[in-house]
Symmetry: C2
Subunit: 357 residues, 2 copies
């Protein structure tokens, strides 16, 4: 059943039927009801492609999905997507994923732009040498960035969390607790969020009069494996008297590995070592679920997804104009994994982690 047939059946013109269906005012209420009822009864739904062609709107927002053997879509993405989906639903837009090999992303954006298959795109995982912002702007695609580039602003809209503030506050807490030897197991510093976080850490150290060299900083993709490996590297053969006592971790997955290393090395939290982790709020992996509940900096990536969707739709519809920079504060939630730095003398007892139970 298409519009023409429906119009013939109703003995009305396509124009009137279309208008009735789309809520235009020039149609009598009685007629509108008749049309709606008939459409309902015959299961008429406008052909989305025809509508898109006629309106020039795609009714969907796009994302270029990096694929390739080295690029793992991580769990953060799902949570984010889930949030977007929630909002997309209420605005009746679809999400369109265009897979592209990492090295040929820009091509994918060009294709999207030229073929007008989406109304706007969102960019995530901002990198230090971010090319996409300029590209997408040149292509004239409405867009919204999740995260931001390194330079203060280049006049684009974004939503980001206050990564620097979060890690600044977390570091300050460790310093206030008396920790003087810190380690930060960071995400990949090719990404700006990791750089911002590192800035937060060093700023707090500087403010506290602690030389930045005191920080053991390691950077790698955020997963269990790397967390374990880097923690082992850091602590396995370290002198208990000089090894770090305060650890910052970039993600829950990293921490999973770090905690495994701690267990294996017989290091107890928070007696031997304190740890603060960034928590993106995964429903399937919670800081309360660790044997020693984790102190975290928390910001829901899912909620961010919903907000991004909302704003992107507004941008597309011209509701939000001009570059808007939105930065969310991050909560610091203290749980059991942080405590005072071990006193010099008491440090380094090798005990079984179970002794604490």
């Amino acid at each position: 059943m298409n519009l023409k047939q429906l119009a013939e059946y109703l003995e009305l013109s396509q124009t009137t039927v279309s208008r009735a269906l789309n809520g235009y005012p020039e149609v009598r209420e009685k007629t509108r009801r008749r049309v709606l009822e008939a459409a309902q009864r015959h299961g008429y739904k406008p052909n989305s492609n025809a509508r898109k062609l006629a309106t020039g709107k795609a009714g969907s927002i796009g994302y270029v999905l990096p694929v390739g053997r080295n690029v793992d879509l991580d769990p953060h993405f799902v949570e984010f997507l889930s949030g977007m989906g929630e909002h997309a639903l209420s605005r009746e837009v679809d999400l369109s994923l265009t897979p592209a090999p990492y090295e040929r992303e820009s091509e994918a954006y060009s294709r999207i732009a030229a073929s007008r298959s989406v109304d706007g795109v969102y960019l995530s995982s901002m990198r230090n040498d971010e090319q996409r912002i300029a590209l997408v702007r040149d292509l004239g695609i409405p867009f919204l960035a999740h995260g931001r580039a390194l330079e203060p602003s280049q006049g684009y809209s974004f939503l980001d969390i206050d990564n620097e503030g979060a890690f600044h506050d977390a570091t300050r807490l460790l310093l206030q607790l008396g920790h003087t030897r810190l380690a930060y197991i960071n995400g990949d510093t090719d990404y700006t969020f990791a750089v911002h976080r590192l800035n937060g850490v060093t700023r707090a150290m500087t403010e506290h009069g602690l030389p930045v060299e005191r920080l053991a900083h390691h950077s790698a993709a955020m997963n269990e494996e790397n967390g374990y490996r880097l923690a082992m590297d850091l602590f396995r053969d370290a002198d208990p008297a000089t090894r770090p006592t305060g650890v910052l971790s970039a993600s829950m997955f990293t921490t999973l590995g770090i905690v495994r290393a701690f267990n294996q090395l017989g290091m107890r939290m928070p007696d031997d070592v304190s740890i603060i982790t960034h928590d993106d709020v995964f429903p399937f992996l919670k800081p309360e679920s660790f044997t020693v509940q984790l102190t975290t900096t928390r910001s829901s990536i899912r909620v961010a997804g919903a907000r991004i969707c909302e704003r992107l739709v507004d941008i597309i519809n011209g509701v939000e104009k001009g570059p808007v920079e939105e930065v969310w504060p991050v909560e610091l939630i203290v749980r059991a994994s942080t405590g005072p730095a071990p006193a010099e003398g008491k440090r380094g007892r090798r005990v079984s982690p179970q002794a604490a139970e």
Copy 2:
């Protein structure tokens, strides 16, 4: 730049240009090259909506994304998506996600069907009371199921792994190792995969002459929290002489929680308890990454995603005809978390898990 303009520029008709671009044979090689070169140079890309309208093809495959406060998109989905994306790329199709509240899925499928916004859909997470197969078939949308319904076959195409065989083999291994008290911490048995797996477990037990009542079976969504909770329920106050010694776990996340409970209770693997887990092959959480490396049944959900995409495209193009039922075998990979059942006398020593290091 659109087709008309390009044609005018080239002083050719739209027909010829279109044909040249789409590889039809009726156009002279020299002309084709000239057209392709000009298209390239001017960055011409056909408007995807116009093309879709004209051809009736959407060039994308769809998925109804369940959203809502109780539905968490889990990490399995991302991995799967990632696999689909890899293949989608090579076939130049997009992935279109239509968010829908769990209770109103069917509506979303109807909308997809009527609006012809995708060429086909894939269904995943098959449930016991699966409604979608009949629905989608009635709607006339080409589809492919990931997993299968409970009834042997209703004449639809699917790709599934041999869940029953996997858990049968895993259970048999535990039985061969002398375990006689088994526990299975299963996923939600509203889903067929969980039912199939349970069937595998009970079949192995029956074959081995062990009454099915001996199995402690618990079912819940597969995450860390539930794994921990169910394992604690099962072992906290249990008599070491009668508690299960062999545990089957439905997912790596569940196992994360189970292992946490074991650690907390001072139970060692494999001396006190053996465990076998199903591994969907997440790049960020590997069975080798556990302190005691996990014995697993393994099947890559990512590879399944790629294959589903491939077949779905074939189905859409009429290459694959008739219902094809594809069932993948699952590997059983023995690592360190399985061992002989503890002898009656030796069982239940309460030791620190670190003693093993």
